[in-house]
C-alpha cells in the first residue's frame, strides 16, 4: 500500500495550458508510479466528474477527482502551474489537488486523508504556504503528516 501523499506526486512551475493536458499528465504520472493500471479511464473519470459540476474552488484552486476500478492506491497529485488554466467558462485555476480514489478496497483512513486535504484548502494560511513554497519538497513538508492520520 503506497502513501496517499508523496513528494513524487508534487509538481511546481509546470506549464500546462489546458485541462486536457493536465488530466493526461496526472493520469500518466499515476500510471508511471503504478498507482493506476490504466491512463484512459482516469482521464475519463476526471471529465465525468467535472461534468457533474466543476471542482474549481475559490482562489484559483481546483480539486479534480475520480474514482475508478483502475486506480490501485489512493493518491493526491499536487500541481502548481505557472499560469492559469481555463477550467470552465468563468473559472481559471493554477493550483490543483487531484484526488485519485480506488473504487474498491478503499479504506477509511484513505478517505479521511483525502477529506482532510480538501478541508485544508479552506485554510488561507495553508494555501499561502503552498503558493509560496520553493519546491515540491517544501510542499510535501506541509502535507506529509497527513499520511499518519487515523
Amino acid at each position: 500500500m503506497k502513501n496517499v501523499v508523496a513528494e513524487e506526486l508534487i509538481f511546481v512551475d509546470t506549464t500546462f495550458n489546458s485541462q486536457k493536458d493536465l488530466f493526461e499528465f496526472i493520469a500518466e504520472t499515476a500510471f508511471g508510479l503504478s498507482r493506476t493500471s490504466d491512463i484512459r479511464s482516469v482521464v475519463d473519470g476526471f471529465y465525468h466528474r467535472e461534468g457533474e459540476y466543476s471542482t474549481a474552488m475559490n482562489d484559483g484552486i481546483a480539486i479534480p477527482h475520480c474514482r475508478t476500478e483502475s486506480i490501485l492506491d489512493a493518491s493526491v497529485v499536487i500541481i502548481r502551474n505557472s499560469e492559469k488554466v481555463i477550467w470552465t467558462e468563468d473559472e481559471e485555476c493554477d493550483l490543483f489537488f487531484a484526488l485519485l480514489v480506488p473504487e474498491s478496497n478503499l479504506n477509511q483512513m484513505h478517505i479521511r486523508i483525502l477529506a482532510q486535504i480538501a478541508q485544508l484548502l479552506l485554510e488561507d494560511e495553508f494555501v499561502a504556504q503552498v503558493r509560496s513554497a520553493n519546491d515540491p519538497s517544501q510542499i510535501f513538508d506541509l502535507v506529509k503528516e497527513l499520511n499518519k492520520v487515523l
Partner: protein
C-alpha cells in the same frame, strides 16, 4: 439562528467534507449555531438527531445525491443549495437564509 445541514456529493470524498467545513466556518463567523452532517464515503458522520431537527430554524440540504434519513426533516423549512455554492460562498448562502428567515 439554529441551523442543521446535510452535505453529500457524488464521490463522497471531497465536496461533502469541504462543504461541511465551509458551513461550520461561515456559521461561526456570522454567529449562527450549526450542526452539519456529512453523508459521504464514510457513511453518516456527525448525525443530526431528531431533537436537533426540532430545535432548528432551518434545514440546509447541500446534496447532489440521494440521502439517507431525509424524512427527519419533514415539516421543517428546507433550503436546497448546490454543494459547490456552499463551498464557494458559504457566507453569502447563510446571509441569504438569514434575510429570508429572520424577516418572517
Amino acid at each position: 439562528m439554529k441551523i442543521v445541514a446535510v452535505c453529500a456529493c457524488p464521490t463522497g470524498v471531497a465536496h461533502t467534507y469541504l462543504a461541511k467545513r465551509s458551513l461550520e466556518k461561515a456559521a461561526e463567523k456570522l454567529g449562527h449555531q450549526i450542526k452539519v452532517e456529512a453523508q459521504g464515503a464514510l457513511g453518516i458522520e456527525n448525525e443530526i438527531s431528531l431533537q436537533e431537527v426540532r430545535e432548528a430554524d432551518v434545514v440546509i440540504l447541500a446534496v447532489e445525491v440521494g440521502i439517507a434519513k431525509r424524512d427527519r426533516f419533514e415539516g421543517k423549512p428546507i433550503v436546497n443549495i448546490p454543494i459547490q455554492t456552499v463551498v464557494k460562498s458559504p457566507e453569502t448562502v447563510l446571509k441569504k437564509i438569514e434575510e429570508k428567515f429572520l424577516s418572517r
